[in-house]
């Protein structure tokens, strides 16, 4: 079996350690190490420069700040290296378009790390919708709340925004995929209520899709310190012939830990990073289009950008106004 040589660019993102472990464990991957702009050393080989890492990689996973996605993607494309980019794809539509253009011109693939599509519960929902069992899906109430990740996530320059930039795209992308439809209009109420940040930590979005379905997304960093897990992803789906509840991370044990003085949930469901990175790598090896493309990343980013515009203007905003 041929293995793909994959490197990790940057450790700025909270997901970086998990992605590194995933790359080290996947049988179809030869993890060639990482580059960290801070110069810190990590498990696996640490390369002194981005160029050194790109030279040994056929693909890279970007785990940098959001704002750095554009720069690293352009460098990787110029080196002929495929890119799996942490979400959101970029912090502006212009950056995202530049990334798509660069990868297309260099004939490398651009993928986005959106693990929710890999969830077996989401796949079951997709199957139920496509089988017609639910009838036409008319409405969805979705949530993707979490804890405030700290670091640069509350820095508008590095992150591009707050909770809405961090969490909207998981559900927006899953909705586009599940309903095989596009978001056309967005309403949002945002607020900085919990952590004294210059960016929003609470957000409620409402989306219109082109064929008439509507959906809401709670993207708030609203899970308290004492909450037993980081957050979650849920969907309440109303079809004309059936209603479905999906709770992606429901499969867990409750651990009452006297030693640590906490109660926490210990997940035992399928590891979504393994499935998500694995499907990207498999597509590259097979020469197929990657399952979640740069185009998909741009579409879900447009939802976020429209949400910020909506919150500012206090009215719903059409995607066409921001695309």
């Amino acid at each position: 079996m041929s293995r793909l040589r994959v490197g990790l660019v940057s450790w700025a993102h909270v997901h970086a350690p998990g992605l590194a472990r995933t790359l080290a464990a996947l049988p179809q991957v030869e993890f060639v190490g990482s580059f960290d702009e801070t110069g810190a050393a990590h498990d696996g080989r640490t390369h002194p420069s981005l160029e050194a890492l790109l030279k040994e990689s056929e693909a890279v996973v970007l785990a940098s700040t959001n704002a750095a996605h554009r720069r690293y993607t352009l460098d990787a494309a110029a080196a002929g290296v495929h890119v799996l980019c942490e979400k959101p794809l970029a912090t502006t539509v212009a950056d995202a378009r530049a990334m798509l253009d660069a990868c297309r011109d260099a004939r490398v693939q651009l993928g986005v790390a959106l693990p929710v599509r890999s969830s077996p519960a989401m796949v079951a929902l997709k199957d139920a919708i496509e089988s017609g069992r639910l009838g036409v899906v008319r409405a969805v109430r979705a949530t993707n709340p979490g804890q405030y990740p700290g670091r640069w996530f509350g820095d508008r320059r590095e992150a591009g925004g707050g909770a809405a930039m961090d969490h909207t795209v998981h559900v927006a992308d899953a909705l586009r995929w599940l309903l095989a439809d596009e978001v056309v209009r967005v309403h949002a109420e945002l607020g900085s209520f919990l952590y004294g940040l210059p960016v929003e930590d609470c957000g409620l979005l409402t989306l219109d899709l082109s064929r008439g379905a509507f959906a809401s997304i709670d993207c708030s960093w609203s899970r308290p310190q004492t909450y037993p897990t980081w957050g979650g992803v849920t969907m309440h789906v109303v079809g004309e012939r059936g209603t479905v509840d999906v709770d992606v991370f429901r499969q867990s044990l409750t651990h009452y830990d006297d030693a640590a003085g906490v109660t926490k949930l210990v997940g035992w469901g399928d590891d979504l990073n393994t499935l998500m990175v694995g499907s990207f790598v498999d597509a590259i090896i097979a020469g197929r289009p990657v399952p979640i493309s740069g185009e998909d990343g741009l579409r879900s980013l447009e939802v976020v950008v429209a949400a910020y515009r909506s919150a500012e203007l206090r009215r719903p905003v059409a995607i066409a106004e921001v695309a």
Partner: protein
């Protein structure tokens, strides 16, 4: 009105009418005397069960000598006619929520009761559900700090053919005035008046109705509401309030203290299952009203308060129909 015992007449024998009528049985200082429905035949079974007489129709019940308090639990679009008739006959009125289908009707009802010098109470019963009361106590005590983001959901089975008027949004207001109105009233009770609303609902009304609303308070919180007539597994409520010092969460599916299973299947999954409490919220609501009437005090939720919650529900519907944000100003 001078009678020591408050004599109660009920108009309507649907879910609300039968619930209130049953809640009145054994209530200290009160006695159920008469029941009216659209037809005598519809009123008879409940009247027989509860030992009350059948009034020929709503107007006759309102005019009855042996009625001091009229409970109006007719279809929403008939509330104004029945409440005004009761007021003109000098009776206190308890009216099921929503107070009316339109604010014009609601205003006329409030005016009629004011002019007649009778009390008008509106049945926003969720204010008597202990989980919502306990949450209010915690919120008022500052247990969560300042509320930042909240979600409240309420769902039940699709409306059956037996309640056909429900399926006509012009008569009932659909799922927004049936279910979401409860949570809009809860929000006003917990947090005061919001600044603006954005609503979405399925077009066309009908048995499958579903609505979402986002509400914004001038500063905070922001709130997501869901109301569903597509909860095929049966009645469910949830709420979650996150403040800057903590979070409260409730799910009615997770708090049943008494669950029966048998080879005959689940007998408990009704439209709205009875809560496992010594005193049901409906009984508590009626007791609160009768005690206030005896003391000469206004009801907890009066006609003006019920009108404000109705107005907020109508703002959600207006927003959904126009596809725009609607600013909320308290109706005069």
């Amino acid at each position: 009105m001078r009678s020591v015992t408050l004599r109660i007449g009920v108009i309507g024998t649907g879910f609300a009418g039968s619930t209130h009528a049953r809640a009145s049985i054994g209530l200290p200082g009160a006695r159920l005397t008469a029941i009216a429905a659209a037809t005598i035949v519809e009123a008879e079974p409940l009247a027989t069960e509860l030992g009350a007489r059948v009034a020929p129709d709503a107007a006759a019940l309102c005019a009855s000598e042996d009625v001091d308090l009229v409970i109006v639990a007719s279809p929403t679009y008939l509330h104004a006619e029945h409440v005004i008739a009761a007021a003109k006959a000098g009776k206190h009125v308890f009216c099921e929520k929503p107070i009316a289908r339109t604010l014009e009707d609601a205003r006329a009802m409030v005016r009629a009761c004011d002019e007649a010098g009778v009390r008008l109470a509106i049945g926003h019963v969720v204010r008597f559900f202990p989980e919502y009361r306990r949450a209010k106590e915690l919120l008022d005590a500052g247990a969560l700090g300042r509320a930042a983001v909240a979600t409240l959901t309420r769902g039940t089975l699709p409306v059956g053919a037996a309640r056909a008027w429900y399926l006509d949004p012009a008569k009932s207001g659909g799922v927004v005035l049936d279910l979401m109105l409860h949570d809009l009233d809860v929000l006003r009770w917990w947090f005061g008046e919001p600044a603006r609303v954005y609503g979405k609902r399925l077009a066309g009304g009908g048995a499958l109705d579903y609505a979402l609303a986002t509400l914004r308070y001038e500063d905070r919180p922001i709130v997501q509401l869901e109301a569903s007539w597509a909860e095929h597994a049966g009645f469910r409520t949830t709420f979650e309030v996150r403040g800057d010092r903590g979070m409260l969460a409730h799910d009615s599916r997770a708090v049943a203290p008494f669950v029966v299973q048998s080879p005959a299947g689940d007998a408990g999954a009704g439209v709205i299952p009875a809560p496992t409490l010594r005193e049901t919220p409906y009984r508590r609501q009626l007791r609160d009203l009768t005690e206030r009437l005896a003391r000469g005090e206004p009801p907890l939720v009066d006609g003006r308060e019920g009108s404000r919650s109705l107005g907020l529900g109508l703002a959600v519907i207006e927003s959904a129909e126009r596809g725009e944000v609607v600013r909320w100003t308290v109706p005069a």
